[in-house]
């Protein structure tokens, strides 16, 4: 847990950490700008751009029409012209109206041009449920974006990582989909769990993509997860520790690239794998992690469980959403089950 190594730091919410990174990069490089819906005067519905307008003005913190195809596509065009746009898609769920620009242009133009065109763009987007916003505003869609080649996919779970990953995302010469979980942002109106608010150094630092973080070491099972569920897995691990089960918790931090080695190394030690994901169960992150582990370390693997959203649209009423979104007990039960 690298944030503990920094003595000179402030406790920040995840949103403040993200904004700090964006502001720093904007001061350093005139080519960086932000555009999206309600990102200027409002400061981003989930505070992802809160405070930037005052320092940078409307030219660089740019509100746009509700018109995702045009402004995400314009982000691609500006990036291909050498600028470094940060484009916000308010909810990941809204990708449906603009996916052509995302996966056919943003993600493919570098490849189709044989490497002669770069698209240094950050597409940042809010993900996740737990606040009863139903099927069109609660998805994470991690697997959807990670499945399609050509985009790096970043999912921070805490303020320290959010800042370091944002610095790296803006500096990266490739399109980066930066998926922040609403519940982790530290919003006044959507209280975050314990954990995402961390010490954050004032100075800039980049967290390289493709380096998972072992959040808790353990001998008995490997729990691989990301985003909000890092915190649920850690809570489950504490509960299990009281029962004498010692779980290792890995925060993937980025899906593309994926730190397969960190997972394999842990599984070789524990022999038991539980993958926890807030995305749908089928054809997604959990299946991918299990597949890679079986390809690389089948002989070390004694038991596997997946804990994920069942394959249903996310329901509205509280008992229904609680049923489908994996909770601490679901994680703990899965870890117990692989001990048998």
């Amino acid at each position: 847990m690298s944030q503990e190594t920094h003595a000179e730091e402030r406790e920040l919410t995840m949103s403040r950490a993200m904004v700090g990174a964006i502001a720093h990069e904007m001061r350093e490089d005139d080519e960086v700008f932000v555009m999206g819906e309600d990102i200027a005067d409002y400061g981003g519905i989930f505070d992802s751009t809160e405070g930037l307008l005052e320092e940078f003005g409307h030219d660089r913190i740019m509100d746009v029409p509700i018109s995702e195809t045009s402004f995400i596509g314009a982000g691609v065009g500006a990036a291909q012209a050498g600028m470094r746009p940060i484009v916000e898609l308010m909810f990941a769920d809204f990708f449906g109206v603009a996916m052509d620009q995302i996966y056919n242009n943003m993600a493919k133009n570098t490849y189709m041009s044989g490497g002669s065109v770069s698209v240094p763009m950050v597409l940042m987007t809010a993900v996740g449920g737990t606040y009863n916003d139903a099927a069109q505003h609660s998805q994470t869609l991690y697997g959807t974006f990670a499945h399609l080649p050509g985009m790096k996919v970043v999912v921070p779970s805490n303020a320290y990582d959010a800042k370091g990953l944002m610095h790296n995302a803006i500096r990266d010469d490739d399109p980066v989909v930066y998926m922040f979980h609403k519940r982790l942002m530290g919003l006044g109106w959507m209280p975050a769990p314990e954990g995402p608010k961390t010490g954050v150094p004032d100075e800039p630092y980049a967290i390289p993509f493709g380096e998972a973080d072992v959040k808790r070491e353990g001998e008995d099972a490997t729990v691989v997860t990301l985003g909000l569920h890092v915190h649920r897995a850690l809570e489950a691990a504490e509960e299990l520790a009281a029962e004498g089960i010692d779980a290792e918790v890995i925060d993937l931090r980025t899906l593309v690239p994926l730190d397969t080695d960190a997972v394999i190394e842990s599984v070789r030690k524990t022999g038991r794998l539980v993958v926890v994901d807030e995305d749908y169960r089928s054809f997604g992150v959990t299946g991918e992690i299990v597949a890679r582990t079986t390809e690389e370390a089948l002989g070390d693997l004694h038991a596997v469980r997946r804990v994920a959203m069942p394959d249903v649209p996310i329901p509205y009423a509280r008992p229904l959403e609680n049923e489908v979104n994996p909770g601490v007990e679901d994680v703990a039960d899965a870890v117990r089950s692989v001990q048998e």
């Binding site: 402004f71 596509g73 056919n104 490849y111 010469d173």
Partner: protein
């Protein structure tokens, strides 16, 4: 302008010949020296040439899936473009893009295969020009079949509300694959779409390169001077099928004949003669264009095919280090390691 037009026409005639090699008598799309689909733009030359003559290398152009005449007029490297179409290693995209996905960053040209898809990125190039305070402009070419696409309409609005240096050029060839315009679009004149976005809209009714030149000149100047976007529609005619191999059973013989008669190239030749250009000069330009096309095609056919392993490269400009980037290609070590 004339040279660009005859180059484009000759280029497509030659591509057609090359493309059909091995595909006759029975048409097999996967046979012959040119892979994939081939959408030819013969009959569209006036729009590409009449617009791009006003542009510099720094100006951006995006074109749709019928791109060759625009690419040629924008100054795309003809040899490397041809190598790309033949799927060769030295092609613009190293054989990864093909004829619908040509990128030449040296002259800021790109084209793409989905209807209206290139329009938002052109707006983005205009946005970049405005933010950087340059006088560069961006031009988005699209077909009349694209004017009902949301991405186009959204782009008109964004360019208008941001006052961006963008020119939208609709090439109206009357046909969206098999669908005549009057059956699917509410306006006969696509430039009327501009009215809803408080933009100037201009229609050039004939395949007349000089008329396109004049309309585009005004629009490009307006954009360059910071006076915002313009929408132009140019009437063109599709002399060939939607793609090579299209039997065009949906199209009447009269319509095909009309497209052949309304050829912008002889029309421009007449204009040139009226302005005192002699036949010898016209022949010289045409011969030079034909020679250049031949040279490009011969060069391209001599180029090697890509190394199959190269399929794994260029996904990223900055490929992740130390992480299995292509899990599909890693050797599985099974469970015994």
């Amino acid at each position: 302008m004339y040279e660009d037009m005859v180059t484009a026409r000759r280029y497509e005639e030659r591509l057609q010949e090359e493309y059909l090699e091995g595909k006759q008598p029975a048409f097999d799309i996967s046979a012959g020296p040119i892979p994939g689909e081939l959408h030819l733009a013969a009959g569209h030359e006036a729009s590409g040439a009449g617009v791009c003559i006003h542009l510099r290398d720094d100006d951006t152009v995006t074109a749709p899936h019928r791109p060759h005449h625009v690419a040629i007029a924008k100054g795309v490297d003809l040899k490397r473009m041809t190598a790309e179409i033949f799927g060769r290693e030295t092609g613009l995209g190293k054989g990864k893009g093909g004829h619908m996905h040509l990128f030449d960053p040296d002259v800021n040209f790109a084209c793409s295969g989905i209807i209206a898809q290139g329009v938002p990125p052109a707006v983005g190039a205009g946005l970049a020009a405005k933010k950087r305070n340059t006088d560069d402009v961006a031009v988005a070419f699209l077909g009349e079949g694209a004017i009902d696409q949301g991405g186009f309409l959204e782009s008109l609005n964004l360019a208008s509300v941001q006052d961006l240096p963008v020119v939208f050029v609709i090439e109206d060839n009357d046909w969206a694959i098999s669908m005549p315009k009057d059956r699917v679009t509410d306006v006969e004149d696509g430039s009327k779409r501009a009215g809803g976005f408080d933009l100037p809209g201009v229609r050039v009714d004939y395949d007349d390169a000089v008329a396109v030149y004049e309309a585009a000149g005004e629009a490009v100047e307006r954009a360059r001077n910071g006076n915002g976007p313009t929408l132009i529609e140019v009437q063109v005619h599709r002399r060939m099928g939607h793609f090579m191999g299209d039997p065009q059973a949906y199209r009447s013989e009269e319509d095909v004949e009309r497209a052949e008669q309304l050829d912008p190239i002889p029309k421009l030749e007449d204009d040139l003669r009226k302005h005192g250009v002699d036949d010898e000069t016209i022949d010289e330009i045409r011969d030079r264009a034909h020679e250049r096309v031949e040279e490009a095609i011969e060069w391209a056919k001599d180029q090697p095919e890509p190394d199959p392993e190269d399929a794994h490269e260029d996904v990223f400009t900055n490929p992740p280090a130390g992480v299995a980037e292509h899990p599909g290609t890693t050797e599985s070590t099974g469970g015994d390691d």
